[in-house]
């Protein structure tokens, strides 16, 4: 969809790093933008809405629904409204070197849970636990490994990403400290809250791979064509029923 339609309120697009689709792109450039959303399985959404619309619906019912048609989440559930999702553009012209921070905060607690990085980016790791940790990055579909030396409690170190693929950042000593890492050549990314807008402005015209990713739901792939002078609108909905086909 080419956006000439963009009468969307600018406030809605605030997540797109100040991107304004009402403003024309710079000379010879184009952009990709849209909304990325994570949601429960479509069958769950349907049933929750049906139950929620019943007059005798009990708010304490373990099956969560509500009369206004939205899924109601309780503490045991994956709350998709608060999911951090990634919009990713694979751009061969992008330069690596971005710094991403990861912190082991305590036993079995490492943040963020997921990270999208480019080959050559830097992961700055902080060990805020009480024990020394040997961090390594592993390809979950192969044997490739890279590591950094033992990190003492309170210490931090940089790891330059030398692997491409679906990876995990964890430690020798405690593999419950874990960050899912998606690494690709020329990766540009924006992490946004589910239902928010992303934007990749000032792109050279051409074909690109666009990925939407939520570590728990996997990757949704799209081909996108950027044209000079145009904003290209691509929305993504991440759910089990859209990802597993």
């Amino acid at each position: 969809m080419i956006a000439g339609l963009l009468a969307l309120p600018v406030a809605v697009l605030a997540d797109g790093h100040g991107f304004d689709p009402d403003e024309p792109p710079p000379e010879g450039k184009g952009s990709v933008y849209g909304t990325v959303t994570a949601r429960p399985h479509k069958d769950y959404v349907k049933k929750a809405k049906e139950l929620g619309s019943k007059e005798d619906y009990d708010d304490n019912d373990p099956y969560a629904g509500s009369a206004d048609g939205k899924v109601v989440y309780n503490d045991t559930m994956v709350n998709y409204d608060f999911a951090d999702v990634y919009a990713i553009l694979l751009n061969p012209a992008a330069k690596p070197g971005k710094v991403h921070e990861v912190e082991a905060e305590g036993d079995e607690d490492q943040k963020p849970r997921a990270l999208a990085v480019a080959f050559g980016d830097i992961i700055r790791i902080k060990n805020a636990t009480s024990k020394p940790l040997t961090y390594f990055l592993a390809d979950i579909n192969g044997d490739s490994i890279q590591e950094i030396p033992l990190l003492p409690p309170g210490g931090s170190a940089d790891m330059t990403v030398e692997l491409v693929g679906d990876l995990e950042l964890t430690t020798d000593e405690d593999d419950s400290l874990i960050t899912a890492v998606l690494s690709r050549e020329g990766l540009q990314s924006q992490r946004v809250r589910s239902g928010s807008t992303y934007a990749f402005p000032n792109m050279n015209p051409g074909e690109y791979d666009l990925l939407f990713w939520f570590w728990r739901l996997g990757i949704l792939k799209r081909k996108v064509t950027v044209e000079a002078g145009e904003h290209t609108d691509v929305d993504g909905v991440l759910s089990v029923d859209t990802v597993v086909r």
């Binding site: 429960p40 399985h41 049933k47 045991t76 994956v78 390594f136 890279q146 693929g165 597993v244």
Partner: protein
């Protein structure tokens, strides 16, 4: 009345059948007798105290004997039970929603070994997923945040689960060429497979090593 020409045919069938039966019996006895045990020791290098290691045999040049089974995974209390299930390739897993209240689950996997989405599993329902090829399959419930499980699909029925490194024995292994291997959940560690030739009553003292993966880039 059977025509004369066909009586010989009938006689032939009647006469050949017992002979075939005897041949099958005679020749099948030694095959059974050749089933052997494979035993040895699993050693871990690298200082880590690994737990829950699956030692298994993989046929090198033929399909393993069929041992396809049905396994069950229950979901009561928003927990997959068992959390780790070892199944033989070709088997099926029945996911059973045995919740006491009306709690639905949506079980799915993004694994390369077996990608699936069973849809909504309501209370009392059972859904079946097949696992045709070996590998490790992590699966989740898309509704409940703490529900995750693992299915380890082994290539033959000759496997054992060790709670810690040590001795192992695999029984009733047919003669032939096999590869002894192990599956570990810690991403830093992997086994070095060992070739095992089974031709007598037992193969003893096989050493299988698990060690830290060395730095290896693409």
């Amino acid at each position: 009345m059977i025509p004369k020409g066909k009586r010989w045919l009938l006689f032939g069938c009647v006469a050949v059948f017992p002979v075939l039966l005897i041949m099958i019996t005679v020749f099948s006895v030694p095959v059974t007798a050749l089933a052997a045990s494979v035993s040895g020791k699993l050693k871990v290098y690298g200082g880590k105290k690994l737990k829950n290691i699956i030692v298994f045999l993989e046929p090198t040049n033929k399909k393993a004997a069929d041992a396809v089974k049905k396994y069950k995974v229950t979901q009561k209390g928003r927990v997959f039970d068992p959390a780790v299930t070892v199944v033989v390739a070709g088997s099926e897993v029945i996911f059973i929603n045995d919740e006491e209240r009306e709690i639905d689950h949506n079980i799915y996997s993004l694994s390369r070994t077996r990608k699936f989405d069973v849809g909504l599993v309501s209370k009392g329902s059972e859904l079946v997923v097949d696992f045709p090829k070996p590998g490790i399959v992590k699966y989740y419930c898309s509704v409940h945040k703490n529900m995750e499980g693992t299915i380890i699909v082994v290539p033959s029925p000759f496997y054992t689960l060790l709670d810690k490194p040590g001795t192992f024995t695999l029984e009733n292994v047919p003669e032939g060429e096999w590869k002894l291997n192990a599956a570990v959940s810690h991403r830093r560690y992997s086994a070095s497979p060992v070739d095992v030739a089974v031709s007598g009553p037992s193969v003893d003292s096989v050493i299988l090593q698990i060690s830290r993966k060395r730095r290896k880039r693409r």
